[in-house]
């Protein structure tokens, strides 16, 4: 994956979010405070504008821009996504990066999010999609496309599984049983992100 692949990945992610924004907002309305779609839109809008205005060489350059956009956003998800991308950027400073680099970025990103947010897998948060995606990449043996496809599938099924969980962290923890059966919007957003990597 080189710099322009990374750009295209982000472009597909923006487009996927545009399609799913309303769904994500509805999920946060049922499990949190309903601003997840708006928080993400402002972060991604800022990312899109900044990428358009910035020369980037390596994938890391691209992810730095996206990280900054998220870190300039309020809410809980903004700064956590920002730190996830920041770790991904640190692992992808070469002009062309491979599965091992991505795996390291995903893994470091996930552990940073866990450390900062205090959520463990199973707490019904974005971590429930991040962690399986990182594991899938780390375990991948084939080429980058197969690895990313495996990661995307893992993220999606992690996100799907959040429906059954009771939230332990974030606002959803305040509503308890009411959120049972509802997907966690942060985890769904992670699934969209990793799926977008597959082209």
């Amino acid at each position: 994956m080189n710099g322009s692949d990374a750009r295209e990945w982000m472009g597909r992610f923006f487009a996927a979010f545009d399609r799913e924004q309303q769904t994500l907002t509805d999920l946060d309305r049922r499990t949190g405070d309903g601003d997840f779609g708006a928080n993400l839109r402002s972060a991604l809008g800022r990312a899109r504008t900044a990428l358009d205005a910035t020369e980037t060489a390596t994938p890391g350059d691209v992810f730095d821009v996206v990280s900054t956009a998220f870190l300039n956003t309020g809410g809980t998800s903004g700064p956590l996504f920002g730190m996830w991308f920041r770790n991904l950027a640190k692992a992808t400073r070469a002009p062309t990066v491979g599965v091992a680099d991505l795996a390291r970025g995903f893994t470091d990103g996930t552990s940073t999010v866990q450390r900062l947010g205090g959520a463990k897998p199973g707490d019904k948060t974005m971590v429930d999609a991040m962690a399986p995606a990182a594991e899938a990449l780390a375990a991948a043996t084939g080429g980058i496309h197969e690895a990313l496809a495996a990661a995307a599938a893992a993220a999606r099924s992690g996100a799907e599984a959040t429906a059954e969980l009771l939230a332990k962290r974030g606002r959803a923890s305040y509503v308890g049983e009411v959120a049972r059966g509802v997907l966690d919007p942060g985890a769904v957003a992670v699934a969209l992100l990793v799926e977008a990597a597959c082209g």
């Binding site: 870190l71 809980t76 903004g78 700064p79 730190m83 900062l116 947010g117």
Partner: protein, 333 residues
């Protein structure tokens, strides 16, 4: 009943107010507009820098406490919302002169998260950063210790004043952080409201009270408190708060305290002063000495009609730090 405010676009309240504040104190403050933070007009050198911040709507907190003897930078978020991690990290690296930075953070999930991230980022850029988490609000304490812990309220002003003075004396970062945490451990606050405030641009107060009720244990974000109690005389209401605070800090005969009688927004100076009289007399009745007091609006909750009382254990060292010179828009001596 509907409230109105003096404002233009509700979205622009915070940047416009920051501009207006800094224009009123050109000799004390500088505004960095993007990302938004306020620093001293004359940066300090050769000392640990102090950075605080949090949601707006609590004015004069925090920008009103930037200046000699107190903060080096304040980072304002939107009304009742944390500043972003990059705002905080930008302010942190801007005021670091190599001695490191002490971040003073009120205990709210968003603030804690963004300051923690900011500390990591500033750390990556070479700044030594330590944090003091302020969690003085007794009303939000849970017996089982679960949940996000006590909220940070008016004790933050005392922490900023005392740490600010200690930093000015050249104390090193680890000692400052340790000292700040000790002060926090010895600080408890509790709030009480007669009427809720309203968000800029909103015309209804956040909640209504019956005529014979007051809201006990309110925070500084317009949340309801931990319960209602009957409206009563200022002396009785003061006694209710003091009983809890004194018990929580285990204060007794011979102890000394700093007192903050803090307006939550719309409470008049006459009311604050007479509540301060009650605090003083009631503590004296328990043999507790008021070492120093602050009486006024320090940590507000928009235009809430209410007040909070903060007690912080005082000793000779802390009193000397309290008395050290301070020169900020909202606190000067």
């Amino acid at each position: 009943m509907s409230r109105r405010q003096f404002l233009n676009d509700p979205e622009h309240v915070v940047p416009e107010a920051l501009e207006g504040l800094v224009l009123a104190h050109p000799g004390l403050l500088r505004l960095n507009p993007e990302p938004a933070y306020v620093t001293r007009a004359k940066p300090a050198t050769g000392k640990v820098a102090l950075v605080s911040g949090g949601g707006s709507g609590h004015e004069p907190l925090h920008a009103g406490f930037v200046g000699t003897g107190m903060l080096d930078a304040a980072v304002p978020g939107a009304v009742f919302a944390s500043p972003t991690a990059l705002q905080v990290s930008a302010a942190t690296t801007a005021v670091d002169t190599g001695q490191g930075v002490l971040q003073i953070v009120k205990n709210y999930t968003g603030d804690v998260l963004n300051f923690r991230i900011a500390a990591e980022i500033a750390g990556d850029e070479g700044a030594a950063v330590e944090q003091v988490l302020v969690d003085d609000d007794l009303a939000s304490e849970r017996a089982d210790g679960e949940g996000p812990g006590r909220r940070g309220t008016a004790a933050v002003v005392v922490v900023e004043k005392l740490c600010g003075a200690l930093a000015e004396q050249g104390a090193e970062l680890p000692r400052l952080a340790r000292f700040g945490r000790e002060v926090v451990g010895d600080a408890r606050s509790m709030g009480i409201a007669l009427a809720a405030g309203a968000h800029p641009g909103e015309r209804a107060p956040a909640w209504e009270l019956a005529d014979d009720e007051v809201e006990l244990g309110v925070g500084i974000h317009g949340e309801r408190g931990i319960g209602r109690r009957p409206y009563a005389s200022a002396d009785e209401l003061t006694a209710d708060l003091l009983d809890r605070l004194v018990a929580a800090l285990g204060l007794g005969r011979g102890d000394g305290v700093f007192v903050v009688v803090n307006s939550l927004g719309a409470t008049h100076g006459l009311e604050l002063a007479l509540v301060h009289r009650a605090v003083h007399r009631q503590l004296a009745g328990r043999g507790i000495e008021v070492a120093r007091s602050l009486v006024g609006p320090y940590v507000t909750s928009l235009d809430m009609a209410g007040l909070s009382i903060t007690l912080v254990r005082a000793d000779d060292t802390r009193v000397a730090l309290w008395d050290a010179p301070v020169r900020t828009p909202a606190l000067t001596w």
